[in-house]
Subunit: 553 residues, 2 copies
């Protein structure tokens, strides 16, 4: 009955524009415009969500200080001037070698390659190599393997778990010079590009052909597609286009000993032996350096719509998700979840007017993409009317143009920034079966509260425990927003959160990988048999262990 | 201009029913009915397409005679009564052990497990084991590994490359008793089932929940989902739902030494280490026996439409494919290609009236599936009008009901049967970049013709060289229809076909795997480096080589 009372005013807001087709053409134009904006530079680009971190330091502390338990592996050689001379000779170009030992300027130049963007991890690297071809990568690795020099493969360095920066004095092999788009088949949609190609560059190229890269994420202005593949990046389009394990058609990689693995298949079907490329997808550079990628790209959708609505319970969120999958089916491209706590923080920081008049415990953002704007608008309106009539959704609004689409997305995408304005945050990027997804937030909040750490005034170290994420992928971001560092908070959270996830067969890293940060926690998501098999794989591909040491396993 | 002249009569035929929604409801009912038919037994079910084979023998010849070069590996132990007694004690139930040595009846009972359905391969197996649990599989393999007994994992035995039957006296581990559906999450769509669950049973279960199995193929009444995963089956829905590498969420498998690998994840995102399950997908039972599967299932579409059209050239087929992907985009679920030669054979055998009035060099069958029947019909009609106006499609027809849908599909699905009525066939299931896809048929036809082997009268051994397949997946079935065995034909075809494919970086096995048949041809699609790495993987997982010997690599 409550829902029915809401129906009239809400449906007025939900009313479709008379000339939906025109409006959608405007949206398209705006979209095109946004796509043709200049590629963001490293410093201005931020991944959409990041992991657990307490207040980020202004100047980065060396990882070796933060983690004194990790010792440099004495088997690795120290870098000598002879090594550097070899690489200079090999790569030729001045700009391809940054040797931090030559001057203080060079040492400064090397810093961006030594630290992650969060300034949470910082290595002692003294040499950065920028190969421009697979052959150069091969020769670099062969030399390193022969001389026991440890290596860190590095893409756009936008990772969140410290996987792409050195811990000690590992040589950085940065892929930014291998950035060419090599081939595109306009009939099949297969794109072949070098690993250092920036995701947004690839996507802009595809836009000009009427195609889309089957992956989208906040760091797209800086991240490399080789890095995306190496970390099995998830992002915003996974609900629609699936994971990289399904979309990557082939790749080329160089093993630790310099062997080039040419598996650059451009076919959707190829059942001739073990699908080795799958091992490199998500291997975080520990078994080889991905040098080229072949990927299946879908046609770009002509129409895009976004709706935002409020719901009274997580049970209703699940019902709405089921209905959206059923009724919007093939056009559903995002189903995002935000709780009231996360929205209150955005409101507090931005002071923007909320999309809905009232407040609800939960909000969802639904995006559709399809080939026919009128059809999509009709489906979305029918869906919203249905879920409101059934009392699943309490209130909702439908974006009428590109500005409104962006404005609605800002309530989801602005959460990370709002949190970072307010102080430190403990962040957990996890996956849990949908039915239990939000329970983790409630149980964590109750636990922090019971410990007397959560409250509205300054005496409490924790301001809020909030949850949001990619509901469509069962991917939750649990965030504990703090006013100040307090060792009691971490003690209450860990290992509680990891144990809670392990009990429900969830994943302690949904989309960001293990890197240095979660190496020691893999046992919460993988059993000893699997970890043992993984170590066998690592030893098979990199027997001397020179690739990305101290991390992953 | 020619296309414009055609437009009027064709559009009349293409005209949509006034009450499309009702018609589509009828279609749905018919579909439901067809889905609830009893599961076909092994003998009546046929995979939709199969590999190269000359005239199939009425009684199967032993593989050891057909391939005298393959020798039994002397490292493997001979089966003894003590071994059989151990397995009887382990499995308990009488029906779980078929011991071919006990009586001639038992020897007869064992034959269906010893031969493939094409009666092309036949082993000398004397023991079939049917475990009912993962623990039993584990104990069987541990014992076999300890005692050097070779094993063939077997699902529904519907394979096409001799991968699921023994070559010599390997023990068959048949998975048919592990056939339970274990779990289904109605919110996420994650299904968990035992490996021996028949595909159609799983799909019927999902239909009752409004979901669909993301794989469909002709053998669905007999094939097991464990076998599907182990062979990375492609089938009819790949264009829409992608490969099993993207849809399988997790699996449980038993390694050669009995170790149970529990990777039965039900999450879409889990970036914690190498994605080991991917190695089992398409491994054809050579590194372990898959015992359980977890898979992401999409919502079932409410509406289905099928169109059939004629085209003047393969260039126009490619244009039509591009337009279909662009205009039908998210609702396109199949794009199948048939040449005139293949259709003439179907006409010759069935005597059915052709769907179109005139004949064309090429025909395509397009299927759409979506959540809204009216929208889909409108999109399909607009697409057809557009491609005809542009002169891409010369003529076309749109199915008006479920009967017509089936009737149009019969022109695609009936090709294999028509060919088998006419004599022997050399069949090649291959993948080639789309632009070159049909050139293989033309080049092969020219070559056979130049050799004086192709003609209309009985003096020529070859009746026709035809091509058809899953255009949407760049998957061609090249078929050479023969009147009689003639060694000159094979000599003209091989290695010509394989070399032709290798030159264009195609795959010699698009969707059916390697098995025994293509083991020796892997080098045409994979380089020595990759084959070497694959052998390392095999040795890591099955160091004694007891799993499915003589095949794959």
């Amino acid at each position: 009955m409550a829902a029915r009372q809401q129906l009239t005013p809400v449906l007025r807001r939900l009313q479709l524009p008379r000339a939906a087709a025109n409006i959608n053409r405007t949206r398209q134009a705006a979209l095109q415009q946004s796509l043709s904006r200049p590629v963001r530079c490293l410093s201005s680009s931020r991944p959409r969500c990041f992991h657990q971190t307490t207040a980020v330091a202004a100047t980065a502390k060396h990882t070796s200080e933060t983690y004194p338990d990790i010792q440099r592996d004495a088997r690795f050689a120290q870098l000598t001037p002879e090594h550097v001379a070899y690489f200079r000779g090999l790569l030729g170009s001045e700009s391809a070698v940054i040797d931090g030992a030559t001057s203080s300027d060079a040492a400064d130049d090397i810093e961006p390659f030594n630290s992650d963007w969060m300034r949470k991890y910082r290595g002692h690297c003294r040499l950065v190599l920028k190969p421009s071809s697979t052959d150069e990568v091969s020769q670099i690795l062969r030399y390193c393997n022969d001389n026991m020099l440890a290596v860190v493969p590095q893409g756009g360095n936008t990772g969140l778990v410290g996987g792409s920066v050195p811990v000690f004095d590992e040589i950085v092999v940065n892929m930014s010079r291998m950035n060419r788009i090599l081939e595109f088949d306009e009939v099949s949609g297969a794109l072949v590009a070098e690993a250092g190609c920036i995701l947004e560059v690839a996507d802009q190229f595809l836009a000009s052909k009427g195609y889309i890269f089957p992956l989208d994420l906040g760091a797209k202005g800086s991240c490399h597609i080789g890095g995306n593949v190496s970390t099995n990046a998830g992002g915003l389009r996974l609900l629609r286009y699936g994971s990289l394990h399904g979309t990557v058609l082939g790749l080329e990689a160089v093993l630790a000993d310099g062997t080039v693995v040419d598996d650059l298949c451009k076919l959707r079907k190829n059942n001739t032996g073990y699908d080795l490329k799958q091992l490199f997808i998500g291997a975080e550079g520990t078994i080889g350096i991905v040098t080229k990628v072949s990927i299946q790209c879908p046609q770009r959708s002509a129409a895009q719509n976004v709706a935002f609505f409020g719901l009274e319970s997580f049970d209703k969120v699940q019902q709405a998700f089921r209905e959206a999958k059923s009724q919007l089916s093939e056009i559903l491209s995002a189903f995002e979840l935000m709780d009231e706590g996360s929205q209150a923080l955005v409101r507090q920081v931005t002071n923007n007017k909320r999309p809905l008049e009232s407040q609800y415990p939960f909000y969802c953002l639904i995006e559709t993409s399809g080939s026919n704007a009128d059809h999509d608008s009709e489906k979305l309106a029918a869906f919203l009317e249905d879920v409101m009539e059934k009392g699943i959704v309490a209130d909702g609004t439908l974006a009428q143009d590109e500005t409104q689409i962006k404005s609605l997305w800002a309530w989801r995408e602005g959460i990370t920034e709002a949190l970072s304005h307010l102080g430190g945050t403990y962040k957990y990027d996890v996956s849990i079966p949908v039915k239990d997804l939000y329970q983790l937030v409630e149980d964590t909040r109750a636990r922090v509260d019971e410990a007397g750490l959560l409250g509205d005034s300054d005496e409490f170290p924790v301001r809020a425990v909030v949850g949001y994420g990619h509901m469509g992928d069962a991917n939750l971001h649990l965030n504990v927003s703090t006013r100040r560092m307090d060792p009691r908070v971490e003690k209450v959270l860990e290992p509680f959160v990891y144990e809670w996830i392990a009990e429900r067969q969830g994943s302690i890293s949904a989309e960001h990988g293990l890197g240095l940060m979660k190496k020691k926690f893999i046992g919460y998501s993988r059993n000893p048999t699997m970890v043992g098999l993984m170590k066998n794989i690592k030893n098979t591909f990199d027997p001397k262990g020179i690739l990305n040491p101290y991390k992953y396993l």
